[in-house]
Amino acid sequence: MNLQYLNWKIHLENPAQAEPDEWFKVLSTWIPDAPEIFIDVADYKHVPDGPVTLLVGHYVNYSLDATGRQLGLLYDYKHPMDGTNEEKIRSSLLGLLRVAKRLEDDAGFHAGKPKFKAGEIRFIVNSRAIAPNSPETLEAVKPDLVKVLEKAFGVGGFTLDRPADPRQRFSVDVTAKGTPVLADLIKRLA
């Protein structure tokens, strides 16, 4: 299996405080002169159970996301990546964590300053062709996923759970034991 279109979502500790308009302002400031290719910010706060505020990029989209009625940061790598599956999982997870850290540190937030649950993340493969949501896919993905997560959370430092709805994309919920810190995870994966 050649894993592609990797997405990660990290949930907010303080979802009730999230202000979509603040996210809109902050993400808009990320566009000018960014090293990444960003195109625009889209506002979807009028719909539930999906994106709320979306920074559209060429390679990656970042969004305040309410899919599954859980508010968090979604990191959506949209194009094929090079490397082994383990490398792709590691680099995309690192991408998520770095963006989460940047958001936590962004001075543009005021009342709704985000704080993420570093020990509660979701891994998604955004391609039903590559990764149908089945136990077989989990078996195929697990070794590489576990290797990366062990680097981040330590051996035995997490549990995995695959939501089983076959119409949803393949995803794995990662729950860390203890309360990991974003900066530490970044250091371990970098």
Partner: protein, 776 residues
């Protein structure tokens, strides 16, 4: 970062491999051809504007910032897309675009909605946007993902062909057709027949602009909006002396919104059902032949009808109709009409359940329509700004499966209706919808605001239509329940520019985006249009009353509604009040709430709704609504290029027979393309193509190369004579080379002729389209 190759990605190949056998062969060919066009474009083998029209005809539209520039509020910045390749004039290959998915008559099944939800997740942003023409649009899509999307859509019987570009767009129709208490008859099957008959029809491939058709079951409701369409068909059931009822349509042409509205003209008050397709074909042929091709702003049929006058236009169409050879499809569809009769999944109810749930009662008031079939209702699912998320869409499919039989339709008010809900189930349906946040009341009311994408994603947007609509909706919703009924039932519609995708001209209160210079600053504004008529199928257009700053509009709307309530006479509708009061008085009365404060006093007026950037109009790009005017010859030559590309692939993989056959077919297509300069009805028959090519291009020496003379034509003649021979590898290779040279010669010939080198020798296109008798 790696260069993209999404067409040959594992994911794309998976869908191609698993779905190809399940697709309608013609649709499969369209998609395969488009995929090849993408590959050829990446190799630089297709001109930008030809590729643009090609993708538009598959529904792949441009999006804001796709010229690679974005103003950040201070200055214009380049968006450094990885490749320099274009997918159209000044349209970057890697820039995200919009895909328009055609839903004829707005119909969709639960399975189809599921697939669209998946596509939104995997290729777009998990949002499905319903348009004012019953389409569904997905945004932020990479062009190379389109073939996979098309295959997945085609597998559930959806095509995007001719969703954009200079073609017959989605055939829209009343979403309550078949269940409406006031319709003459169910027009669903007729709308489907018009869609099927015209899809890919040779007579609709050479328009100067788009062509929109709508059908309605009655004259007085607004569901079909036939009067604002290029062609509008309204059902008429005419009693006959023998007691039977004859079905037909009132046939109007040349209506339209846009910058300058045109009233539709009555072509006939009764076109019998068996004549509808034939007459529509004739109308299309006249439009293709006589409609403007070069000046885009004059190229819609409304200008042709206005210029000719309806009587002369009618005469030309009837003359064309008389010349058309009979096509059995004109009437074959009549036998299929019964299959459009829907059946309920559940037993009829006996009245809407009584509850003590006030919210349910209010929702019933605005969102539930009692059908003509006793015991059943149609439920409107109100979608804010026409948007629904993938998860909501999937959940809605499940609700549809549970209570009805695939009887969902999109509406021109950007909602979804679910028909055939048993009254007995209604409270359960409401509660199920509530769980997914789709039980909002206010359908077809002042809070159900229509808005085009505007500056959010559209290249033509001037002001933020969605931003304004969202703001108005939020404010009006707060007082909705207490509103006077006269106000509650008004319609607000917003467009981001004068092109009227938001249909502002037929709203009670309409807005379209403009900009104004205020003391040296550019300020986002909307032109306010008052008193349009949504009923009577968009019966009349409103009055433009003046520009208002975007940020002042909520206060202006509040005051306007207040003025109406206080000033209206008993039973006086909004339109009548506007006319009686006069726009001068109205604008004067609104002056105190519409003034723009100085920049230093309140900067918020200088930023649009839903934006944090100071307003500018520099992000506006070239629109693609008009499509690119690409001649049939150019399309023919492109098809030939595609065929020769395939021939080479076959040759490389050792399939010698297919290589030889395709090389010949490439020459045939190129020759046929050239002949279309003179005769758009040229047959598919190789003998006839050969004969006409010889007569028009060889005997006349038009084709002769300035240096090589007739040599290259002889490659085609030789290939034609030997087309049934079994070729060995060497001969097939030779034919491939000859075909490639012949194709180059055809391109050169087209270029010479289009540059006027042969001006005076032939009247290019002068009599094109007049040879209906030569149809194969």
């Amino acid at each position: 970062m790696k260069d993209l190759d999404l067409v040959s990605s594992e994911s794309a190949q998976h869908w191609k491999k698993t779905l190809s056998d399940r697709l309608d062969p013609k649709w499969r060919e369209d998609i395969d051809n488009f995929e090849t066009d993408i590959l050829l474009k990446k190799k630089g083998k297709i001109e930008d504007r030809v590729f643009a029209e090609t993708r538009l005809r598959m529904g792949a539209y441009g999006q804001r910032y796709d010229n690679g520039h974005r103003h950040d509020g201070v200055e214009m910045k380049n968006i450094p897309f990885p490749t320099d390749l274009n997918k159209g004039p000044e349209t970057k290959w890697d820039a995200p675009g919009m895909e328009r998915i055609k839903l004829p008559w707005g119909g969709m099944t639960a399975d189809q909605l599921d697939v669209m939800a998946e596509l939104a997740e995997e290729y777009s942003d998990s949002i499905l946007h319903i348009t004012t023409r019953q389409d569904i649009q997905l945004h932020y899509i990479h062009i190379e993902n389109c073939p996979s999307m098309f295959r997945r859509l085609a597998a559930v019987n959806i095509t995007t062909r001719e969703a954009c570009g200079n073609s017959v767009r989605n055939v829209t129709a009343c979403p309550i057709a078949g269940v409406c208490r006031e319709e003459a008859f169910d027009i669903t099957g007729y709308a489907n027949a018009v869609f099927k008959y015209l899809l890919g029809h040779p007579d609709v491939q050479d328009f100067g602009r788009k062509f929109k058709i709508a059908l309605s079951g009655c004259k007085h409701n607004p569901c079909g909006l036939t009067n604002i369409h290029d062609l509008g068909l309204t059902a008429v059931a005419r009693p006959q002396p023998d007691g039977t009822v004859k079905r037909g349509f009132e046939y109007v042409v040349g209506g339209g919104l846009g910058a300058v509205t045109y009233d539709a003209k009555l072509f006939s008050d009764f076109v019998p059902e068996e004549e509808v397709l034939a007459l529509t074909q004739a109308t299309c042929r006249v439009y293709a032949r006589l409609g403007e091709k070069k000046k885009r702003h004059r190229a819609r049929i409304k200008f042709l009808v206005a210029d000719m006058g309806i009587d002369k236009f009618r005469e030309a169409v009837l003359e064309e109709r008389a010349k058309l050879p009979n096509d059995p499809r004109w009437t074959d569809f009549l036998a299929t009409l019964p299959k459009f009769e829907e059946k309920p999944l559940r037993e009829a109810g006996k009245g809407i359940p009584k509850t003590d749930d006030a919210a349910f009662d209010f929702w019933c008031l605005t969102n539930v329509y009692p059908q003509k079939q006793d015991g059943f209702v149609t439920v409107t699912i109100t979608l804010p700004m026409g948007d629904i998320t993938s998860n909501q869409a999937r959940a809605l499919s499940d609700i549809a499966r549970k209570y009805v039989k695939d009887t969902m339709r999109t509406t021109v008010e950007q909602n979804i209706v679910m028909r055939w809900v048993s009254e007995a189930d209604l409270y359960n349906v409401y509660n199920d919808l509530k769980l997914i946040d789709l039980a909002e009341p206010g359908a077809a009311s002042i809070v159900d605001i229509t808005a085009c994408p505007g500056t959010d994603t559209c290249k033509l947007g001037v002001s933020s239509s969605r931003g304004l609509a969202a703001e108005l909706r939020t404010r009006l919703a707060v007082k909705f329940v207490e509103m006077d009924e006269a106000v509650r039932n008004l319609r607000i519609k917003v467009s981001g520019c004068f092109n009227s995708c938001g249909q502002q001209h037929i709203a009670d209160i309409g807005f379209y985006g403009i900009s104004r210079n205020v003391a040296g600053y550019i300020v986002p504004h909307f032109q306010m249009v008052l008193g349009g008529q949504f009923t009577n199928n968009g019966g009349s257009y409103g009055l433009a009353t003046g520009g208002i700053a975007s940020k002042a509009i909520p206060a202006v709307v509040d005051k306007l509604l207040d003025m109406y309530l206080k000033g209206k006479q008993k039973g006086e509708i909004f339109r009548a009040w506007v006319e009686r009061t006069g726009k001068g008085v109205i604008m004067q009365s609104l002056a105190d709430v519409s003034a723009v404060p100085a920049y230093d006093t309140d900067k918020s007026y200088y930023t649009d709704w839903g934006s944090v950037r100071e307003y500018n109009v520099k992000d506006k790009g070239m629109g693609e609504c008009a499509g690119e005017v690409v001649s049939l010859t150019e399309f023919g030559l492109k098809a030939a290029d595609r065929e020769i590309f395939d021939a080479q692939l076959k040759y490389d993989t050792g399939d010698i027979k297919a290589a030889g056959d395709k090389a010949y077919k490439a020459m045939l297509l190129a020759a046929q393309g050239l002949v279309k300069m003179f005769n758009i009805d040229i047959s598919e028959d190789p003998e006839k193509v050969m004969a006409e090519f010889r007569e028009r291009f060889y005997d006349s020496k038009l084709f002769f190369d300035p240096i090589a003379g007739p040599t290259y034509a002889n490659f085609y003649f030789g290939g034609h004579d030997a087309r049934n021979e079994i070729l060995d590898k060497e001969k097939a290779g030779r034919r491939l080379k000859e075909a490639q040279i012949f194709l180059e010669a055809c391109h050169n010939c087209n270029l010479r002729m289009s540059m006027g080198a042969n001006k005076g020798k032939v009247g290019i296109l002068a009599d094109a389209g007049s040879k209906s008798d030569s149809k194969a």
